[in-house]
Amino acid sequence: MTTTSISRRSAVKSGVAATLAAARALSPALFVGCSLGIPPRARKVTVGMLHSQTGPLAISATSLRDIELFSFEKINAAGGLLGCQIDALAPDPRSRTDLFEKRSRQVLDAGAVAVFGCWTSLSRKAVLPLFEERDNLLFYSVQYEGNESSKNVVYGGLVPNQQVLPTIDWLTGAGGGMKKKIFLLGSDYVFPRTANFIAKKYLALKGLKPAGEAYYPLGHADFGPAVKTILASGADCVLNTVNGDSNLGLFAALHAAKIDPAKVPVVSTSIAEDELRSLLPEQVTGHYAASCYYQSLPSENNRRWVADFRNEFGSDRVTGDPMEPDYCLVQLWKQAVERAGSFETEAVRQAFRDGLTFDGPGGQVRLDPKTQHTTKYFRLGKIRADRQFDIVHESESPIDPDPYPQIAFPGWSCDWTKNGVTRGAEVDINGNV
């Protein structure tokens, strides 16, 4: 038998040929796009969320985090924004004003192109200098006192001319029972004090004076003495600007004092469906809240939005103000970024100038380029036993924002399409112009 020996040279040749053939055959699987089949990394853009997830404000602020995550997840699922996936960074300011600035710095250092957050005006004012120094954008969705305008903030919540003043109109009108003695009760910080300052000016225009005025620290729980003061003042209604967990103590004290909502209704500016879940229905039913949105709004757009949110977060979750304004702000930011084709602050701000609108669950909102505030419907809701609201009054059309109502801040105005803020006489919110 003859054996054919294979020479080293021919074996090497065959080996090389076989290797090349194998490499060619395997390469589509192994080296897809020269990447070993590694899927291309999605480009990312960081967005900050500054919401207290622990502490007394967590009860309200956590839902804003959820609605923002919900919005970002939807944007990401639809392919992202300008081809980038949104990476949300949400450190916890723990309801402490001193931590807001620190956490803002943290998210801005991480490269956040926009930040959604803050709850109290104290927290917003604490971070504002940092946003102005770094020229970043803060999207603030909570109702606030006005008397402020920064080109680095987009304000999505109600200002007093969209909330406090229409509330007074309603209370002193036929709908509210022609009330004459309004007691102004608030937490002791800038929003309640400024809102009530504006309220007093407005009441004076109507020839009225408040029945009384009282402030308590944030987190205050014992409102027994406050209720005694209200009763002693002979007030026929209360305009309540108490914020956070303090409302638990307030309504418990009102209930204990057997205050009848039909005779002395309390109209709250900072209570929505989310806060109602911590309040006992028997203590709050029949009282009112002033807002721009309620979950019970009958529109199809709202029903769909609520169903989507509940489908994602649980069927017993609720939506309310400021969740809806917050959702609208995310959508307005998205529109602005798409219009600008960039995440850069100045480009996005320029896109605001074009006038952006969004059909939100609570109706159409328009971002006013002059003030960087949004137009809002005013709605007054009566609290039901099922922790929802019956809408008893609604403005005919969205109300334009006026951060500087002339009755309280004469000479002040704002137009970011021109000169920015025009300053009037210095105003002391304790009443001295």
């Binding site: 065959s14 395997l26 192994l30 089949g37 977060f313």
Partner: protein, 264 residues
Amino acid sequence: MNMDFSWLYEIPTRNLALLSIAVFVGFYWLGAIFLRPILRQFVKHTAGSNDIVGYVLSCFCVFYGLLLGLIAVTAYQNVADAGSNVTREAAALSALYEDVSRYPDPYGQNLRWLLRDYTRYVIKYAWPLQQKGIVPEEGTIRAEAFHDRLLDFQPTTPAEEILHAEAMRQLNHFLECRRMRLFSVRSALPASMWYVMILGAVLNLAICWLFDMRFLTQLVLGGILAAYLGTMIFLIVDMNQPFRGDVSVSSEAFETLYRRMNED
């Protein structure tokens, strides 16, 4: 110090297996072509050289096989332990959810929401981070939020006191399991083990180059050995980090729990 093999986990598993085999076989074949003639010089004139090389190789393979086997078992054990931790964490979370469901509202409702929020975060945000070898931090905030809210509750009846004590016990167990999960995210074989393993594989193949046999036979037999070594190394790489690769812990336990929470 752990070696950073992060990029390996981005390769789809099938491709990673093929790549590992191709690297080992390619290395062996290239060595057979370029290094074998040099190495062969050491045993060329030794009578019965194949017997000697075979004896050395079998001794070496015993030690190396033991090493690979033990490492593979250790890596698998790491994955299994991490899996057990995850199951225990989900079970503790489920028990806690049941406990707080008995709390009076509004505490009960708030606590349930917070636990659902935590579970959702673990599935949607923590798991993808863990799969990249990153320890997810924001879950701590959610766990703290729940802890704070639970501590707010003041029992008013003996039944509530018992329930609250049990919930606190479950909470501590849950936090312990959670911490264990976070610790295991970065657990991996130490760098020294990888050095010994790779050196062993190279020496194993180098000994094979010393055999005196037909070149084609050398390529085929050595190639088979190299392919299997490549497969073993792939397996260990895949199991190296408990939350990465195909052989890893899944979020199934949390997903099942979240579905059940949402059905309630």
